[in-house]
């Protein structure tokens, strides 16, 4: 009945006036805001990769940069390392995420799990990585807690963890963030599929619960998590801050190598650096293509298995194991932040004490002087890029809902562009462009660079609730004589306040976590908590790092809780809204 009514009212729409020009302009402006810097930046990186950068004496197109790249010591290892860590992190996080969802989706606490995991996404990668590094060091927290009592180690064992040549700590740290991300994405996609009923039917046919989910539900939701998976793949292949903190140093991953060369005092390294950045772009593109192909092959293979009617009742323990691994990751993430909190309050904490032997507030007091400016910058940049994005995104979505045009699905790919193109591949070009415009090192340049990443995330998290809004509320308001704006402000916004604020919290967290964009666009002159924390992670006093990393993580968490609590408080007398 309700659906029938909806269809009726939808088809009976009256032709209405063209939306105001500001709304009509919004989609083009939004697209330009984040696609232009990427395209210009890519060009500015591609040209030097083929020898063209007149300012540094490159006036001849050729393959010299590539020859220099190939001859650079450790290049092959760096490339292999990038490929291994990127693929391992993506395959593992997807497998774990799907296993977890298959295991928990029908359980009543699945929703609460989602809610508990959401704040994890708010934590900056680098803050987690810094804490995780202390956790797993041979002289780190885990070893300290067990030594010498359980391990018999009077001295820390001489084994490699952080910086291990294989890159496994980097993979593990990526899992800390990517598993919750994919779990949340999958849980969100499940909303549109009657998963429980379908799994029940499949189980009655003799399939195990986890196998049933993989066979029946996954094919329906995978299309919706495909782009997030590609984003994870692209990110894991090209991440810089986490690789700086946890990855091997000699050689590091290809992305770190490129950043290191871009910063070499000998400016001739700009050319191989550009070549490395371009290669990384190609690696990401090829990896996504390969993944796409693998999806096809695996899909077909799964179909064959299904047709053969293979039943695996015992598949449940795989899901259980994945969930246990997920819980371990969650615990590791919490312990990582806990360790940083302890360090920020430690006066002395030496091997093999499980806890600091002396406590103090002096670290915070001493750091306060240097903390406040980067903290303020972080806040201003994050707030500005979030608010600008919010205005653009809301204008786009409102334009779309007033036009009631069919959603062009290709624009989704465009939105994902900043998440699929490696940051190193366009940030150097962007920096050259900014210098030319005389805008590098300005706060506005940093805000713009953050916008490139903040905007897509805000759009992606707001679009679904916005599109799901029942326009009949607006129509009712219009019928009662309210103007379009009044209906928008008084009816639509309050109803959408919750998703609106949560999307803002996501956007804010994305901005706080940005490392490379701040470094390049800020020309090193704009310091945020993240750039400072990563700089300090290179070996400074852990008590100092603790304060920076903790504050860095606290900002997005506080904003997230604020976003979750505000509607509850505002609408405390209106149960359905709160």
């Amino acid at each position: 009945m309700a659906e029938a009514l909806h269809a009726l009212s939808a088809s009976a729409a009256v032709p209405r006036a063209r939306p105001p020009w500001a709304l009509r302009l919004a989609p083009a402006l939004t697209l330009a805001a984040f696609v232009l810097p990427i395209v210009a930046g890519l060009a500015g990186t591609l040209l030097p990769a083929f020898g063209w950068l007149p300012a540094l004496g490159g006036r001849e197109l050729g393959a010299n940069a590539w020859r220099a790249l190939g001859a650079a010591p450790g290049f092959a290892t760096a490339l292999r390392l990038s490929l291994f860590t990127g693929w391992a992190a993506t395959v593992l996080s997807l497998a774990l995420a799907l296993g977890i969802v298959a295991f928990v989706h029908h359980r009543p606490w699945a929703r609460r799990l989602g809610e508990a995991m959401a704040p994890m996404l708010a934590m900056p990668h680098s803050a987690l990585a810094i804490g995780f590094a202390f956790l797993i060091l041979p002289s780190g927290w885990v070893a300290r807690a067990l030594s010498p009592g359980l391990t018999g180690w009077e001295l820390p064992p001489d084994v490699a963890t952080v910086g291990h040549a294989s890159g496994w700590p980097l993979v593990a740290a990526l899992l800390l963030k990517e598993v919750p991300y994919l779990v949340l994405m999958t849980l969100a996609a499940l909303n549109q599929v009657p998963a429980r009923a379908q799994v029940t039917v499949a189980r009655s046919l003799g399939y195990g619960p986890v196998q049933a989910w993989f066979a029946v539900v996954l094919p329906q939701v995978y299309a919706q998590i495909r782009l997030p998976v590609y984003a994870v793949l692209a990110f894991s292949l090209s991440v810089v801050d986490v690789a700086l903190i946890l990855g091997p140093g000699n050689p590091p991953t290809l992305a770190v190598l490129a950043v290191r060369w871009f910063g070499d005092p000998d400016t001739r390294w700009v050319f191989p650096a550009s070549a490395a950045a371009t290669l990384l772009l190609a690696v990401v593109a090829a990896s996504i293509a390969l993944w796409f192909g693998a999806e096809r092959v695996l899909g077909r293979w799964a179909l064959v298995l299904l047709q053969r009617g293979v039943r695996r009742r015992r598949s449940a323990w795989l899901g259980g194991a994945a969930t246990a691994a997920g819980a371990a990751l969650l615990a590791a993430a919490l312990a990582s932040m806990g360790a940083m909190a302890l360090w920020s309050l430690a006066a002395q904490w030496r091997w093999p004490d499980a806890l600091p032997s002396a406590w103090t507030f002096a670290n915070w007091q001493r750091q306060a002087g240097s903390l406040w400016l980067p903290a303020l910058t972080t806040l201003v940049v994050a707030a500005a890029s979030t608010l600008i994005s919010l205005a653009l995104v809301v204008a786009c979505l409102e334009h779309e809902s007033r036009q009631r045009v069919a959603r062009p699905s290709r624009s989704l790919w465009l939105l994902y562009l900043p998440l699929l193109v490696p940051q190193v591949a366009f940030l150097f070009g962007l920096q050259v462009l900014l210098v030319r415009l005389g805008a590098d090192g300005r706060l506005s340049a940093v805000i713009w660079a953050h916008l490139v990443f903040v905007l897509p995330y805000l759009f992606l998290s707001l679009a679904d609730p916005w599109r799901a809004f029942d326009e009949r509320y607006t129509r009712a308001a219009l019928a009662l004589g309210a103007s379009r704006w009044r209906a928008f402000w008084r009816i639509k916004l309050p109803l959408l306040l919750r998703p609106l604020l949560l999307s803002c919290a996501v956007a804010f967290a994305v901005s706080v976590g940005q490392y490379l964009p701040t470094l390049f666009a800020g020309a090193g002159r704009v310091a945020t908590l993240t750039t400072e924390a990563v700089t300090l992670a290179g070996g400074a006093d852990r008590r100092v790092i603790g304060t920076w990393a903790l504050l860095q993580a606290a900002f997005p968490l506080a904003v997230y809780w604020l976003a979750a609590a505000t509607p509850r408080w505002l609408f405390r007398r209106r149960k359905a809204l709160a």
Partner: protein
Amino acid sequence: MQRRRFHLHAALAAAALLSTPLLQAQTLPAWEQIVAQARGQTVFWNAWAGDEKTNAFIAWVGEQVKAKYGVGVQHVRLKDTAEAVTRVVAEKAAGRDRDGGVDLIWINGPNLLNMKQQGLLLGPVTQVLPNFRYVDTTKKRSNVIDFTTPVDGLAVPWRMAQIVFVYDSARIRNPAAMPRSAPALLDWAKKNPGRLTHPSVSNFLGSTFLKQALIDLAAEAQVLQQPATDANFEAVTAPLWAWYEQLKPLLWRQGRQFPENSAAQRQLLNDGEIDITLSFNPSEAAVSVEAGLLPASVRTVGWSKGTIGNTSFVAIPYNAKNWQGALVVANFLIEPETQARAQDIRQMGNLNVLDPEKLSAAQRRAFEQLADHPALPSTAELGAPRLEPHASWMTRIAAEWQKRYTR
């Protein structure tokens, strides 16, 4: 005296003009005028920020010059000095020859050489600074010759460094057992495998460790004062590589992994992962003990044949927007009171660049009153400073190391 130094600088500048055609001597206004123009400026001081003590000292300098000259200081915290050099290069590439974003850089070694060769520095500047008359330019040779490159007044010395080795006397109980030469270090490592390391060779202290070993092992150290050539590099460095081949597998993590910088290595000593660390600052251990970064049992020694000493400078890019303010900051840095505070282990704890004989009795007293500390080396323990080899040796050694050990 004043006049003679001026002639020396003019001669050096002229020599530089001949050898580096890019460099153009810029005539600077009189000091009073500079100070007047500087008022109200904010100097973007690009300085490596890996050391909290130095960061705090830079913040203190900012407060002082604000109060005295109305010049603000904004510390641009670098992970690597090369970042600032790159920025100036990028600005030059984009044609921004004025109003550049970098006003002052803490710099030396290859970065300084690079900027000097590319004509990216303002100056010569030292002759306009009133306080430069206190600087020791004769006994502390590294104040005017940086890694065998004449500084030509393009950079202002502000602190000195000398390689020292820091050990935990709770682990190495007998001071006589502490190795004080390259061969002795190898012998010690054979008895204590996995308890020694050096910073990554991509870090300057890491390559300095190799340089220090080379100076100690080379049959003829004098050749190191000339640029390395394809002809002599292999022969001169052969003893170094023979020594290092034996040492590497005995290092922490079997020499497969290295701490990123000296602070990371100090952390390893504090965490009990190694027994010996090295530092470019003889008072770093004492400062670190006071800051709770190292156990009170650490001690500091140099090598018996001496260790490498060098000078840190501040330099002003040719296109700096606030160059007058930068000059005021540079001049303040070499004021005797500032230098005494810089040497105080409770503050920054760096050797000063001044000549005690040029100071008044009152100025000298500020240095004599500085506190002693068990982790500070005596003059005998420290040993004499030795000049840095030509920068090309460090560059080549680092490249050779990468070639040999990066797979």
